[in-house]
C-alpha cells in the first residue's frame, strides 16, 4: 500500500443512500424523510449540496409546470408534448407520473421561498411558454438544499462515489456503495437497504467546440460526469435510449439559453442574409421522417436539422433577431437577467465582444452532443413504472426501481422521461424516495449484506491511479509525458476525440455509420484498457480519474445503442448515414442494453413502446 497504508476506511450505515445531492437527490431525501420518520437517510455528494448539480448556477425558469389548478394543462398534454418532441418514443407511464406530481413540487418551492414571477393581471404564475414559468432562481439550489439538509440524517459532502456494492446473500440486489473523500482521501463504505442514484448526466464525452481554457464552457456542467449511468451499468442494470444524445441550439460560445428569447421575448432566427430558412427544409425533412415533420410544436431535433442544413449550405451564421424586441426596456431586462440567472458566461461573452442585442442580432450555434435524461432527450436506466396503471411489461417491482433489486433512480438517471427539467427531476426524486421507503418496509428483517472481499478489492481499484503515478513518476525527469501512465486529462481528450470522430460529434456534422461505430468501439476498448494505467498526482486528479471512468463506460453504452438502432430517429441530434430515414416499422421501440461486468459484453434488445395517451 506504500504511501497510503495509513488510509482510514469510514463505514456508514443507512436505510436509504441517496447518491448525488442535485435536484433529484434533494427530492428523494425530502420524500424519504416524510414517509420514513424513523429511517436513516444519508446523502452523498461529490461537491457541496449548497451549490451542486446542474442547478448550481441557478435557473431563470421552471420548464415543467402543468398549472392544473388553473386548468392550463393536464398531465396527458405533457405526455403528448414530450412524445412529440422525442419523435414518438417516451415512457408515457413515467412521464404521466411526473406530470401529475410536478405541480405540488413547484408549490413547495414557492412555499420555501423561491421567487416565482406572477402575471399582474391574473395573479397566476407568469408563463414563459406553455410549460415554462419564470422565476428569480439565483438561489434555487440553496433553497432546495436547505430542505434536503433538514430532511437528511446526514449529508456527506465532497465524497465521490465510484461503485455500487451488491448483496452477498441474494443475487441482483444492491447493498451499498463505495467512494472516497476528495479532500481527505478517506475510503468510504456505505451500507444501505436501498440506494437511489440521483447523480448527473454526461458532459464532456463528445469533444466540445470551445478549446483550451474554454473547454469548461460546456452547455451541461463540466461536473456532470455520467455517474448517473456508470453506477447502474456496472452492476448490470438495464439502460434505455442511450443513443438519444441531445444537441442544443444556443447563443454562440456562451451557450446561453434561447427558450425565453423564443417563447417570451418573441425573437426569431434568420440566416446570414436576413431570410427565414426553416420552412425551406420542409420537404427534405419530410423525406427523412415522414409525417413527424408536421407535428406541432416542431420537434427540437428537426429544428436543429434545418439549422445545420442551412449552415452547411453556406448561409451561416444563423442569428437571433433581438433588435426589435430589445427596444422594449422590460424585454431587454428579461433578456439579460435570463443569462445572469443561469448562464452568466453568455453575459461575459457579449460584454467582451461588445454585443448588445439591442443593436446587434447575436449568433447562434449548435452544441456538441450531451447524454442526459431530463431535457429534450431521455437516456437513462430502465425503470419500473407506477403501480396504478403502468403496463405489466413496465412493472416488475417498485416505482422507479431499476432492474436491480433495491436500486432506484431519479432525474438524469432514469431513461425514457424527457422534459422533466429541474421540477420534474425533483418530483421524480420524491416518487423514488417514497417507493424506496415502501421497499424497505417490505424487506422487514431481510437486510442486504456487503462482502468484505468486495469492498477491500474495490479500495485497491479506487486508489490504483495514485499508486500508478507514484511509481511511474520516478521513471521520468519531469513533465506530463510518461510511458507507463496516462493523466486523467489525457484520457478525457482521447475519449472526446473518439466520440467526436466516430460516434457523431461536431467534426462529422453529427454523422456516423456502422463501420465508424465499429472502429469507435475498438478504440474505446483500448482506452478502457488504458484506464488501468491512469495516473493521479493528487486527490483532485483521483476524482478526475473516476469521472473519466464513468464517462468512458457511458460512452461505450452510447456507442452500442447507436449501433443497434439502424435508423435515423432524431435528425439534428445525430445521423446514421447508412440508415438515413426514420423507420417506424422496425424501430418504433426502445433500445435496451445490459453490461456484463465479468466479460465486458453488452447485450442489446428491443422493448415495446406502449402508448397510454391517445
Amino acid at each position: 500500500m506504500g504511501l497510503f497504508s495509513g488510509r482510514k476506511t469510514v463505514f456508514v450505515d443507512s436505510d436509504i443512500l441517496v447518491i448525488g445531492g442535485g435536484m433529484a437527490g434533494c427530492g428523494a431525501t425530502y420524500e424519504s424523510r416524510y414517509w420514513g420518520r424513523d429511517k436513516k437517510v444519508v446523502v452523498v455528494e461529490k461537491a457541496n449540496i449548497e451549490r451542486s448539480g446542474a442547478v448550481a448556477q441557478g435557473l431563470y425558469a421552471i420548464n415543467c409546470y402543468m398549472g392544473m389548478q388553473w386548468n392550463e394543462n393536464q398531465p396527458e398534454d405533457h405526455v403528448r408534448y414530450a412524445r412529440n418532441d422525442l419523435m414518438g418514443l417516451v415512457r408515457e407511464d413515467l412521464g404521466y407520473d411526473i406530470a401529475r406530481h410536478v405541480d405540488a413540487t413547484v408549490h413547495l418551492f414557492e412555499e420555501w421561498g423561491l421567487p416565482i414571477m406572477k402575471d399582474p393581471k391574473t395573479g397566476r404564475y407568469l408563463r414563459e411558454g406553455k410549460w415554462q414559468i419564470m422565476i428569480h432562481g439565483e438561489s434555487f439550489k440553496p433553497i432546495v438544499a436547505e430542505a434536503a439538509r433538514k430532511a437528511a440524517t446526514k449529508v456527506y459532502n465532497r465524497i465521490m462515489v465510484t461503485h455500487l456494492l451488491m448483496d452477498k446473500k441474494k443475487a441482483n440486489r444492491v447493498a451499498g456503495a463505495v467512494g472516497f473523500n476528495v479532500r481527505t482521501g478517506e475510503f468510504y463504505v456505505f451500507r444501505a437497504k436501498a440506494v437511489i442514484v440521483a447523480a448527473g448526466g454526461a458532459s464532456h464525452i463528445f469533444k466540445p467546440r470551445s478549446v483550451g481554457e474554454g473547454m469548461g464552457r460546456t452547455w451541461y456542467a463540466p461536473w456532470s460526469s455520467a455517474s448517473a449511468y456508470a453506477l447502474p451499468i456496472l452492476v448490470g442494470a438495464k439502460m434505455t435510449q442511450m443513443e438519444n444524445r441531445i444537441v442544443l441550439t444556443r447563443f454562440k460560445d456562451g451557450y446561453g439559453p434561447v427558450g425565453a428569447y423564443f417563447l417570451h421575448l418573441k425573437t426569431y432566427t434568420e440566416n446570414a442574409y436576413g431570410k427565414e430558412y426553416e420552412s425551406t427544409w420542409y420537404e427534405s425533412i419530410k423525406e427523412m421522417v415522414g409525417d413527424y415533420v408536421n407535428h406541432q410544436p416542431v420537434p427540437t431535433c428537426l429544428r436543429n436539422h434545418a439549422f445545420l442544413e442551412e449552415v452547411k449550405a453556406g448561409r451561416g451564421p444563423i442569428r437571433m433577431v433581438t433588435k426589435e424586441a430589445f427596444q422594449d426596456p422590460h424585454k431587454e431586462t428579461i433578456g439579460w437577467e435570463n443569462f445572469l440567472g443561469m448562464t452568466i458566461g453568455q453575459a461575459v461573452v457579449w460584454a467582451s465582444q461588445n454585443i448588445d442585442p439591442k443593436e446587434v442580432n447575436p449568433e447562434l450555434t449548435t452544441s456538441e452532443p450531451y447524454v442526459m435524461g431530463s431535457h429534450a432527450t431521455c437516456a437513462g436506466a430502465w425503470a419500473s413504472g407506477p403501480e396504478d396503471y403502468a403496463p405489466d411489461e413496465y412493472q416488475w417491482g417498485y416505482n422507479r426501481m431499476m432492474t436491480v433489486d433495491g436500486l432506484f433512480g431519479a432525474g438524469d438517471t432514469i431513461g425514457g422521461t424527457a422534459h422533466k427539467f429541474s421540477s420534474g427531476s425533483f418530483a421524480e426524486g420524491r416518487i423514488a424516495g417514497k417507493a424506496a421507503i415502501k421497499y424497505i418496509n417490505d424487506l422487514g428483517k431481510d437486510s442486504p449484506e456487503i462482502s468484505e472481499a468486495e469492498y477491500e478489492n474495490l479500495e485497491k481499484v479506487v486508489f490504483q491511479p495514485m499508486e500508478n503515478y507514484e511509481i511511474g513518476r520516478n521513471e521520468i525527469v519531469a513533465g506530463t509525458v510518461s510511458p507507463s501512465y496516462l493523466l486523467p486529462m489525457h484520457g478525457l481528450l482521447r475519449l472526446e476525440k473518439i466520440m467526436d470522430e466516430y460516434v457523431g460529434g461536431i467534426s462529422s456534422h453529427y454523422t456516423t455509420n456502422e463501420p465508424m461505430l465499429t472502429r469507435g468501439l475498438e478504440l474505446l476498448a483500448m482506452l478502457k484498457e488504458d484506464l488501468d494505467h491512469l495516473g493521479a498526482e493528487d486527490l483532485l486528479q483521483l476524482q478526475r480519474a473516476w469521472e473519466l471512468q464513468h464517462r468512458v463506460l457511458a460512452s461505450e453504452s452510447v456507442t452500442h445503442h447507436t449501433m443497434f438502432r439502424t435508423e435515423t430517429r432524431w435528425p439534428g441530434y445525430y445521423y446514421r448515414a447508412d440508415h438515413r430515414k426514420l423507420d417506424d416499422t422496425d424501430w418504433h421501440c426502445f433500445t435496451l442494453s445490459r453490461y456484463d461486468r465479468e466479460s465486458g459484453d453488452w447485450t442489446m434488445e428491443k422493448a415495446p413502446v406502449y402508448h397510454i395517451i391517445d
Binding site: 461573452v349 465582444q353 461588445n354 413502446v609
Partner: protein, 153 residues
C-alpha cells in the same frame, strides 16, 4: 470565463474552496491564498465569486473566445435577499440589474418530519407528501390500466 483571485484581497478563508462545484478552487500552499487550479474545468457558475467575503474573486472571459477588457461583477446579499449585477462591455458601456433571490427567511423551511405523520395505508397510495392538497386540485390525476396501444399511433 475562468475565475482568478486578487492577491491583495484574498485572506485564505477557504469559502470558495468549500463551495466550488467543480472542486477547482484550492489554497496555494506558498501564498496561503485561494486560486483556480483547473481553469478549463470552470463553468463560470460564479458560486465562488458570490461566496467570497473579501470580494477577492473575479472572472476573465475564456481566452479562446473572449477579448479582454470586460467585466461582470456580482453582489449577493442574503439579508436583503437580492443579487445585483454590473456588466461592463469592452468598449466601456455598462448595464446594471438587480433581482430578488428569496421570499422567506433563510433557514425557515419546515422539515419534512415536522408535518403530521402519514397513516400506514398512505404508503400504498400514489399520493406524495402534502398531496392532493398541495396540488391545489381535488385529487391526484390517474389513468386506467387498460388503455394501452403498442406501436405507432
Amino acid at each position: 470565463m475562468p475565475t482568478f483571485v486578487y492577491m491583495t484581497r484574498c485572506d485564505g478563508c477557504g469559502q470558495c474552496v468549500d463551495i466550488c462545484p467543480s472542486n477547482i478552487m484550492h489554497i496555494d500552499t506558498t501564498s496561503r491564498r485561494a486560486y483556480n487550479i483547473e481553469p478549463n474545468m470552470c463553468w463560470e457558475c460564479y458560486a465562488c465569486v458570490k461566496a467570497c467575503p473579501q470580494d477577492a474573486i473575479d472572472v476573465r472571459g475564456y481566452s479562446d473566445f473572449a477579448p479582454l477588457g470586460h467585466s461582470v461583477r456580482v453582489l449577493r446579499e442574503e439579508e436583503k435577499a437580492t443579487i445585483s449585477w454590473k456588466i461592463k462591455f469592452r468598449d466601456g458601456r455598462e448595464k446594471n440589474f438587480e433581482s430578488p433571490i428569496r421570499t422567506t427567511k433563510w433557514g425557515s423551511i419546515k422539515c419534512a418530519s415536522d408535518y403530521e405523520a402519514p397513516s400506514q395505508d398512505a404508503i400504498n397510495s400514489q399520493e406524495l407528501a402534502h398531496e392532493p392538497d398541495g396540488l391545489n386540485i381535488k385529487e391526484l390525476p390517474a389513468l386506467k390500466p387498460d388503455q394501452f396501444k403498442v406501436g405507432v399511433l
